[in-house]
């Protein structure tokens, strides 16, 4: 029973992983750029949620969309101001660009918010459910289910809408897309907006049940890398499955061999995947 409990909480965490990882995989698959600041975007969204609650007294119903909107704007600004330029440069510039951004965000957060951990009150979203003996906190349930729904929604936007096919056209063949009257620059800015908005929602949702600190983005970024590599680059369904899997693996290893080693297991898994299935477990060649 405890094991089932652990698996369920792993799945709920995993669906949030899936959500922000699908933002990373979208950008990566579309323009072959890795956003090394992705985890720090999540961190910012967590602080947005925290301050929206403590300063503006607004609840999750408002601060989740607020974080999504703010991060969407951040994504677009980062694309227009930085990424658009560094992609034309050498590979070193591409990596340094977003890596430097990660440092600025992380240490600016340190400076502005101090290194102290903060968190939202436990009872922000009701108490704990008891479903057939399984005890699940309402905040985790809300976060997990909402993340799952939004990840699936993102997949549907990419595969079923005109906007999605335009985004896809740019990632397949930039110049052909231009001939069809699509402006790649605008599409890529939108992709960055979406990618960042996914961290906005995910960050605001994690903040419901997770501690908030300036460095929390570092380990979340690594989780996103693992998820994207496992799921295959550019694949949202892949990110969903891989995200859930990582959530469960983390929860189980935390329970069975100790919290310290759950990161060890996840990072080792990542390196092993790079060894044996470099294109991802579910990725196509």
């Amino acid at each position: 029973m405890i094991l089932l409990q652990v698996i369920v909480s792993g799945l709920l965490m995993g669906s949030v992983y899936a959500l922000f990882s699908s933002g990373l995989t979208l950008i990566w698959g579309m323009m072959n750029v890795v956003n090394f600041a992705h985890g720090d975007f999540v961190m910012l969204a967590m602080y947005v949620a925290f301050f929206a609650f403590t300063l503006l007294k607004v609840g999750p119903l408002l601060f989740v969309p607020l974080a999504a909107a703010l991060l969407f704007m951040l994504g677009v600004v980062v694309y227009l101001g930085l990424v658009r330029h560094v992609v034309r440069g050498p590979p070193l510039a591409q990596i340094l660009g977003t890596f430097g951004l990660a440092l600025v965000l992380r240490y600016a957060a340190f400076w502005a918010f101090t290194a102290n951990f903060v968190s939202l009150p436990d009872n922000l979203v009701g108490g704990t459910f008891d479903i057939g003996g399984l005890r699940i906190e309402a905040s985790r349930l809300l976060g997990g289910v909402l993340a799952l729904v939004i990840t699936i929604g993102m997949h549907l936007i990419l595969t079923r809408t005109a906007l999605g096919s335009r985004l896809l056209a740019v990632s397949e063949d930039r110049s052909a897309a231009m001939l069809m009257g699509i402006r790649p620059d605008r599409m890529q800015a939108i992709a960055w907006g979406f990618g960042a908005a996914s961290t906005g929602i995910a960050g605001a949702l994690i903040a419901l049940f997770f501690y908030i600190s300036p460095t929390v983005g570092e380990s979340l970024a690594l989780v996103a890398f693992v998820v994207v590599c496992l799921g295959g680059f550019g694949s949202v369904p892949g990110a969903l499955i891989a995200g859930l899997a990582i959530g469960v693996i983390e929860a189980l290893s935390g329970y069975l061999i100790g919290a310290v080693y759950k990161d060890v297991l996840v990072y080792s898994l990542f390196l092993i995947v790079l060894w044996v299935r470099p294109r991802g477990l579910m990725g196509t060649s």
Binding site: F99, G100, V104, Y107, W111
Partner: protein, 319 residues
């Protein structure tokens, strides 16, 4: 090389530095500049010359640092004796990280390096043999000269200078040899390089092995000088970040770029740390981050590129 007179003048100035300034803080900054130049020049071999950007070089730095002090705490050897052992272990780890990821294109190598370095940091933080989260101390007072434990920074200055000269000499020779041309070709493009018979994987690995060995040496030298290490100061992600920034600001893939970067950034960091104390580290890294964003956005070639444009006549567009 048309700029030998400038290089020679620079060398004389660096060699004379601790004799010219008598302030211990400034002498210490001088030694730390050289140490940062060693690790950034070592990073430069793989990240600059071969164009394979590692953001997890702290793993080799940490192995060197831990090798030095573990040998002291476990066997009572002088810490510097750990340097060659650290270099060998680092090269083995480099093979494990490099072999699979160099087959892949793009950012895989960069990401694998971060994950491996984080893994090493977590493992060291939980391994009692290497002091776990507390870390390790060197000899509290020198037992002999072999402990290389001095109060003044000056002996370290010359120790580091010797290591840096050896590394830059090797890099210079490498740059002019077939390997230098092959690495530049690999940086220019794997596909074209291999079409000309360049064994791409093998040369990336050579560069990483050299790079790992010298980064490890820098770690050992750091441990010898400071006499205390913990997982953050020897294996933290910021160690890796500093190497990348120092090299990129000065000019990745150039002989003197990392040294120039170190001359600019280390005094900056030491000054902010001195002014703001513990919180200075945070400010330092905001500045560091802003600098690399700026370099990436406007001048990916670093200072070396500006220098090149100033000293060479503008290349004219030809057929």
């Amino acid at each position: 090389m048309k700029h030998w007179p400038i290089a020679l003048a620079g060398f004389v100035a660096i060699a004379a530095w601790p004799l010219l300034v008598h302030d211990v803080f400034l002498q210490r900054v001088g030694a730390l500049v050289l140490l940062a130049a060693i690790s950034a020049s070592a990073w430069n071999l793989i990240g600059g010359y071969a164009g394979q950007v590692s953001v997890g070089h702290s793993i080799y730095f940490g192995i060197g640092a831990y090798a030095a002090l573990t040998l002291y705490t476990e066997l009572g050897w002088p810490p510097i004796a750990g340097a060659p052992i650290g270099m060998v272990v680092s090269m083995l780890i480099a093979v494990v990280i490099g072999t699979p990821t160099f087959r892949l294109r793009g950012h895989y190598f960069s990401m694998a390096t971060i994950a491996a370095a984080e893994l090493a940091r977590i493992l060291a933080s939980n391994w009692p043999l290497v002091g776990a989260a507390v870390g390790l101390m060197g000899p509290p007072r020198p037992r002999s000269v072999a402990d290389l434990s001095f109060i003044s920074p000056v002996p370290y200055h010359y120790l580091f200078l010797a290591a840096l000269v050896a590394l830059l000499g090797l890099t210079w020779a490498m740059q002019r040899s077939r390997m230098g041309y092959y690495l530049a070709a690999i940086r220019g493009g794997d596909r074209a390089a291999s079409s000309l018979g360049v064994p791409v994987l093998r040369y990336k690995l050579y560069a990483l092995l050299l790079s790992a060995a010298f980064t490890s040496l820098a770690g050992s030298l750091y441990a010898v000088m400071v006499g205390f290490i913990d997982p953050e100061s020897a294996l933290g992600i910021l160690i890796s970040v500093k190497m990348v920034i120092v090299a990129a600001l000065g000019g990745a893939g150039t002989l003197f770029g990392p040294l120039v970067g170190a001359i600019i950034l280390v005094p900056l960091e030491e000054t902010t740390n001195a002014l703001y104390g513990g919180s200075g580290t945070g400010i330092t890294f905001i500045i560091y981050g802003a600098i690399i964003v700026f370099v990436a956005r406007f001048q990916p070639g670093g200072i070396a590129e500006i220098w090149r444009k100033l000293t060479e006549r503008r290349p004219t567009r030809v057929s």
